[in-house]
Symmetry: C2
Subunit: 145 residues, 2 copies
DNA sequence: TATTGTTATACTCTATAACTATA
DNA sequence: TATAGTTATAGAGTATAACAATA
């Protein structure tokens, strides 16, 4: 498998590294504004889409299920999340956001300006080009699961 | 400041999120192959460029100086890094890679295929376009410090 | 006085292994 | 027996505050 090391490629790699650093910085900052850690913010954002079994959360986060217990514990202690039984399988617990949790998730989402704000400086055509290039970089394996 | 929420922008945001996730995954994986944590790998990569005062490392990592003590402690315990006095200021300690540390840093760098390997599928012109778009997204504030 | 690095402390995230209750 | 979630434990990163050595 060919890996190129010409100056152009190296600069693109460096720029992507800068994008990654900036994305994380802004994400953690937005989470901190709501007194959440990055992991807590990610989980809350996930649950805002749909109530999710503990095991499934671990898969999404790519971590061990035992870690999710603590993260949900802390979100639950703050009244942002609750555990519900799964009618279909009594072993399963569904983590679901409370009203307060949904509100926090919405404010969190709105404060994630990065990648939206800087994109405002690009034309529709440029955004389309960027989208296509990113798609090709990521290949088919873009799905989260 | 305008923030757009049209489908195209949202898709680009999502794609950037996927790039960030994939970048981290591969970075952590490469570090783990050398039995290093992500933070240790980042510091080692930094020191491979030049010996650095503890305080400066904290600035680069955007963390408190007290944390750097532990990270360098663990790298030093494994013989990858050493602390040297700074002749110019006896308060300062310079963290510097050992020969083993430099070798590990080099292997680590070579194993970071992401963003280089997928870029191989793009033409020179496409890479140039991607570079220009990323530059504009990041603005002038790309410097790490 | 101010700065550099360290220590002490506490919290969160992480993986591993063992446990429980269901299936 | 297999699976879902939890507990217990230990290691690593993080911030805060207090400290010694040096500027």
């Amino acid at each position: 498998m060919v890996t190129r090391s010409d100056p152009l490629t190296l600069e693109v790699v460096e720029l992507i590294g800068a994008v990654v650093a900036r994305y994380h910085e802004e994400y953690e900052g937005a989470a901190a504004q709501h007194s959440l850690t990055g992991a807590q913010a990610r989980v809350l954002g996930l649950l805002a889409l749909e109530p999710t079994p503990m095991r499934r959360i671990a898969q999404k986060l790519k971590c061990e299920p035992s870690n999710v217990t603590g993260i949900i514990d802390r979100l639950e202690a703050r009244g942002l999340v609750e555990r519900r039984p799964d009618p279909a399988d009594r072993r399963v617990k569904l983590a679901a956001p409370t009203d307060a949790g949904r509100a926090t998730a919405a404010r969190l989402r709105d404060s994630l300006h990065f990648a939206r704000e800087p994109l405002a400086g690009l034309s529709d055509q440029e955004r389309t080009t960027l989208r296509d290039l990113l798609r090709r970089m990521l290949g088919e394996g873009t799905a989260e699961e």
